[in-house]
Symmetry: D2
Subunit: 331 residues, 4 copies
Amino acid sequence: MIKIGLLGCGRIGQVHARSIDQLDNVRITAVADAMPAAAEALAAKTGAKVLSPDEVINSPDVDAVVIGTPTDTHFDLIHSAAAAGKAIFCEKPIDMSADRIRACRTAVDAANVAFLTAFNRRFDPNFANLESRLRDGAIGDVELITILSRDPSPPPVSYIKTSGGLFRDMMIHDFDMARFLLAEEPVQVFAVGAALVDPEIGAAGDVDTAAVTLTTASGKICQISNSRRATYGYDQRVEVHGSNGLLRAGNVLENTVEIAGAQGFQQAPAQHFFLERYEAAYRNEMASFVTAIQNGTQPSPSLHDGLRAQVLADAAAASLESGLPVTLPAE
Amino acid sequence: MIKIGLLGCGRIGQVHARSIDQLDNVRITAVADAMPAAAEALAAKTGAKVLSPDEVINSPDVDAVVIGTPTDTHFDLIHSAAAAGKAIFCEKPIDMSADRIRACRTAVDAANVAFLTAFNRRFDPNFANLESRLRDGAIGDVELITILSRDPSPPPVSYIKTSGGLFRDMMIHDFDMARFLLAEEPVQVFAVGAALVDPEIGAAGDVDTAAVTLTTASGKICQISNSRRATYGYDQRVEVHGSNGLLRAGNVLENTVEIAGAQGFQQAPAQHFFLERYEAAYRNEMASFVTAIQNGTQPSPSLHDGLRAQVLADAAAASLESGLPVTLPAE
Amino acid sequence: MIKIGLLGCGRIGQVHARSIDQLDNVRITAVADAMPAAAEALAAKTGAKVLSPDEVINSPDVDAVVIGTPTDTHFDLIHSAAAAGKAIFCEKPIDMSADRIRACRTAVDAANVAFLTAFNRRFDPNFANLESRLRDGAIGDVELITILSRDPSPPPVSYIKTSGGLFRDMMIHDFDMARFLLAEEPVQVFAVGAALVDPEIGAAGDVDTAAVTLTTASGKICQISNSRRATYGYDQRVEVHGSNGLLRAGNVLENTVEIAGAQGFQQAPAQHFFLERYEAAYRNEMASFVTAIQNGTQPSPSLHDGLRAQVLADAAAASLESGLPVTLPAE
Amino acid sequence: MIKIGLLGCGRIGQVHARSIDQLDNVRITAVADAMPAAAEALAAKTGAKVLSPDEVINSPDVDAVVIGTPTDTHFDLIHSAAAAGKAIFCEKPIDMSADRIRACRTAVDAANVAFLTAFNRRFDPNFANLESRLRDGAIGDVELITILSRDPSPPPVSYIKTSGGLFRDMMIHDFDMARFLLAEEPVQVFAVGAALVDPEIGAAGDVDTAAVTLTTASGKICQISNSRRATYGYDQRVEVHGSNGLLRAGNVLENTVEIAGAQGFQQAPAQHFFLERYEAAYRNEMASFVTAIQNGTQPSPSLHDGLRAQVLADAAAASLESGLPVTLPAE
């Protein structure tokens, strides 16, 4: 039985609590949240104790912590948990600063604890199936990747202002997906973008529509595009063109019903809500973390993966700022 | 809080237990099964007491019973539960004999208890969405319905022998779906069939491949076909042709991944396992039962619906036997 | 160079003239039509001479005749052409009477001339591809066939009255498709139908919505449904369920454009006009006739195929009339 | 009756001859080709006279010329035809040098003759339908365009060497499509590329895999990717993300047949041959040219469109060379 301390009992913390509830051999023993009511509510559901974050981390009744608190608290919590020798599951982004993520990596490596960066999309059954077939050589060598991500609607401008910008807040998922599928580190990033959805987003110094080109040393190319708006649902598609064929993963529609009339044949929109769309992904992600702890192996995606996605997001932001491609050093 | 007594702790009983676990305001308080180990296992998971069926039915701590025992026990359990004034959720078929189902109806009507016949497919989000749009007039009047059902592989011949035959065991779901969508009672049934999948099924007096034509008094037509084998998954499709268009619900594929190569574009097979395919349907079915009890309304599909599907199955079997169409009296 | 005499210069005659124009080694040398203007117009386009039907048939400058005249003239034209030793391409139906078709067969067999019954759908690239893969064993043995045909809108009631009825006028194509794909003669026909689209069609003694079940001696089943109305285009689908899988041919949509919005993802309607939908089929049909003449082989579908489709249509009409299945003798 | 002089009787010249043959009120009166046999063959089919290019251009029996000769001859032929006052249909690219195209534009403008640059894809029924709906506001304002083009297999390296490179030879179609759909001039081009398909293409100084990002002054973005290889057919897709939805045009598959088995559901590959894929586009393109001449309007795409696509290709090549985005001046 793996005993989990849950740090953060907000929306994402509750998602992880549900995933843990559906897994065997794991349970939540302690929870903490800056909002006492949130912690109490989750404690009532799970039978966990409400403690302070430090108490959770240092509890002998906690083997691993799941960090779902605000991003600016991750740094300290990771350092404490590493010092306490606890396995760590940390929501993305690990931190807004790549250098601070590197510091976390040093602490985690020194403590030799398990660490999973919670890029949930790697665990979506569709994307995971695609990646697995790609690894098995189903379409030969990767040559061109196209990633399209569109959110149903933009977050409030107040959120945008503290989000770190589209590249660090939204496209970071696509940067991780690109690295997952390329299986080779991008060496160059070129970004363009504009505020086409909402001029207030532009006034806040961000873009809501953007496109990035990544290239690797061997010449592989990945094109990513993002929009903060999609009238037809949560649009998340990946397409890999390889030497022997094409692999792609499409949207999950609300249902399989089709209606036909004079205008043609109409299928349902894509599922709109990311928690519904990625329900299985969240469950598989937690299962993968628990299995790694049980087997004594390193979870994936790693802290390094979390760092590299952040480095790509930083480079994209710099490219948009300068108008020039940005070259990435290896690390 | 609705308190449920679960009669039958086998595979389908466990499915219903999981559904109940995911609903608010309802819990299992008592379980019974002819196999003590099965009852104990489910009791351990749910915190329910293990009792005899009679004790479950008569427990003051039970508001409603969920009957998932072998078909030949339904008749007595329904009578006892009705006598005890408990709401009843009963797996299909209610009984192999239409006359005995009529006797159950008399008992249930006399006791004025809630009764749901568990035709799970009505609660599948896809079929439910289709039916709801049909009712809303999305394609005008129903004219022609096509229902195709194919199981991944036939059950053991030993099961076939006691199953009541393909029409009562498998196509009964399609008969209920036909009534659900026609919204008008079929008045004639014509059936053909053969043992094409496995000659042993034929030797056992049954068919594994069959087609039925239903007609209503106003001239609406429904064609159903069944096969006990489908290499590409659990195939369940419905198509309604109406005066203003077409509505259809397709299969649920294993994932959204597509691969393209010299042979063309390939999508995943249909989900193979009915418990996975109809997971949401089972959950919605139980939620609908609980809501009806809470609201004091009659659940649907009713005992009458269970009876009429059985009458259609009997008529199809008689038509296959005689080679002639069978006319159905109203009731 | 094969020299063609075209009998009938109406819409279908013009279709065949266009097909001939696109083929090498074949040209129209003579045309005839009861309407002189129609014959003159086609003669002007093709460089053919305008003659009487008898002159066309007996012209030394004519190797083969294409019969596209009204159905009631086919009998005499076939007899004359057979007597003159000319190859014959004849529009369906060959005749409204199966016995008269048998008489034509006697004459054609005696004269030993090539004869093609113009069931154009066998030559549609989609249906032809499906049939060819079926023959190659792509899905093992045929078990269940589903054929759905819906016309965009009914013909005028005046046409209905002289059409021979839905089974002989519309479903005859599906009867031929069923025989093409079953590769085994149906031995029983059961039909139901109603006038749901237009009560005037019912008043004229016909149905506009119908369903037929065919069975073969080995137990194979074919379900056919027809409607005289489809708001979403010309709907022609075929699905074959076999021991190792499924083969199906879908509709041809007007274009590949898809639009997505709050209502979902919408594709174009099916092509509405049969001459557009089956343009390639008509061309391939004529090419097949010409190739058979050049190679000295018998064209397909044969006069026997034309007869058997008519026999099935007659049986369906008799079944609808009697309400009982009709058994077919072999011939 | 429009009288056409056909300059160039090779593969593309024969395509245009077939298109003309299917149109009313237009015919080919004169042909020319550096290979006498090619000219003679086409003359035999069409009844045209074989002349020298100059004779064709200056023939009083020629209203318009169709230029399908090698690219390096276009400049002189355009100047001669403009001087002779003939309408001009010219294959793309007009010339490999943007400055020489500007010189052609000066000559054509001075002569005030009709000129169509033969970007055939604008006339594909699918892309044309998409563009027309876009213009009608079906999805609001254009924000992001994704264009994916993949050829079934690379041309011979000998061809590559004189082709002007992937951007001018292959992606030029996509540059024109981008301008067609953006309806706003791109102001910046960024290109990446590599020789991943065949190292000999790299040795010849070209790339076979490339991606380009275009941006407009108002912030609209277009991502294009090209590969010289696709195992699954001729892959040509366009997707436009707008403020109110999505419009996309997909591939044309070889047929509508689908086969299902244990591996899933498989559709046909995309049509492989561009002359088959764009058969209707070539016909519509010629019809549009002829209609413009008849109506005395300017054909589209114009010589200016031909120039701008070439300017974009030049900029992409420069961007690939420098590794930097290239800014485009207006003209």
